[in-house]
Point group: C2
Chain length 222, copies 2
């Protein structure tokens, strides 16, 4: 069975993809003007490591102009906050990612569209199972006429969160399959040479390795 | 009230936008590698004509690679069919467009996201009111935490189809407000200097003017 996986280059999506081993995987990575541009090469490495049947990088740089300068992830004028803040939430980001991933899934007859949300992502509404279920149903409504070219036209949207999986449990499962490649993922919201070690995403990464009981070999600037 | 309108450059979306006069309009046009590249300049003209507060052209050219070559609208190897055919349906296209439009709407506090579907679009599942309602509900679930920066975080997805409006009625209403500017829209699936006059979209255009009792001043090649 084919599955399209939204692969950010970060820890969560890599581990979610690793959980799908056995399926024919197609990764899609979005480049949308984020400061952490080290994510895209990390996603490419991960796609290779997981033996994906296909991997595409979709340039949605125009999204930056839609969000304006008050958004810390894409704007130039605002610092990256150290803890959860609405300024790090890009509105409806996963809706955009999942729609595009679903368009690809419908085209290649994939029955699953996966993204790396886990139960720690609760503050982000578009990570929650309730959103994923509704969005999946709506996407299927977009294609309700069924089969074309003998391909299946129904998808399921899935994330580890839908199985109640925490970030540390996700990491544990992912690391078991990825080995040291798990350290090749990129989590930092900043675009430095090393992980900054201080932004919310780096803090979550550190905490997850600690909670999972895995020695963190990531190199942090601080 | 602010509204984001998906503006293709064609007849339907221009007339749908014209129906929203009185609202503060923001147009978004998608450039996705379609052969009918005359659509984008037509959309720009229409945004100006309607006095839109903003207009953006979003380059989603990567979509072409997701759909592959069997799709007549974006692929090089297949002709454009003269009547309705699944090869002219880009999977989940409106899901992608509406997600991106909604991301913009959430960012600027617009309460409405509009696209130009009408009751004649019934063969396309992602034009139907049932899809639009479900998709709107799912998009709101993506932002269920409510207000940010004092902006409203709830949108309604609307199309003329949701009010049971036919293509000719839509055209009648649009032409009343647009005057001769309605002939500046671009419908043809082919990329010629003039409308080809023969593809499905040209045939629909001609039929709509005839049914609406409006003399069609569009210049057709055939």
């Amino acid at each position: 069975m084919r599955a399209v996986v939204v692969l950010s280059g970060g820890l969560d999506s890599a581990c979610a993809a690793a959980m799908l081993r056995g399926k024919e995987l197609y990764g899609i990575t979005f480049s949308y003007g984020q400061k952490g541009s080290r994510e895209v090469p990390a996603a490419r490495r991960m796609a290779k490591k997981l033996g994906m049947a296909g991997h595409k990088v979709a340039d949605i740089g125009f999204m930056k102009s839609l969000y304006g300068s008050s958004n810390a992830l894409t704007g130039g004028g605002v610092g990256v906050p150290g803890t959860f803040d609405y300024s790090i939430v890009v509105p409806a980001r996963n809706a955009v990612f999942l729609s595009i991933a679903a368009a690809w899934a419908f085209s290649i007859g994939a029955g699953l569209v996966a993204y790396g949300a886990h139960s720690g992502d609760r503050p982000y509404p578009d990570c929650r199972p309730s959103f994923a279920r509704r969005f999946g149903a709506a996407l299927n409504a977009a294609e309700s006429d069924g089969v074309r070219d003998g391909l299946r036209r129904r998808i399921e949207v899935w994330s580890p969160y839908m199985d109640g999986i925490t970030k540390e449990e996700l990491l544990r499962r992912g690391a078991r399959r990825l080995g040291d490649a798990v350290f090749g993922t990129w989590s930092c919201y900043r675009g430095g040479r090393l992980h900054c070690g201080r932004c919310e995403s780096c803090a979550n990464r550190r905490g997850a390795f600690e909670a999972a009981g895995i020695r963190d070999r990531t190199r942090y600037a601080a």
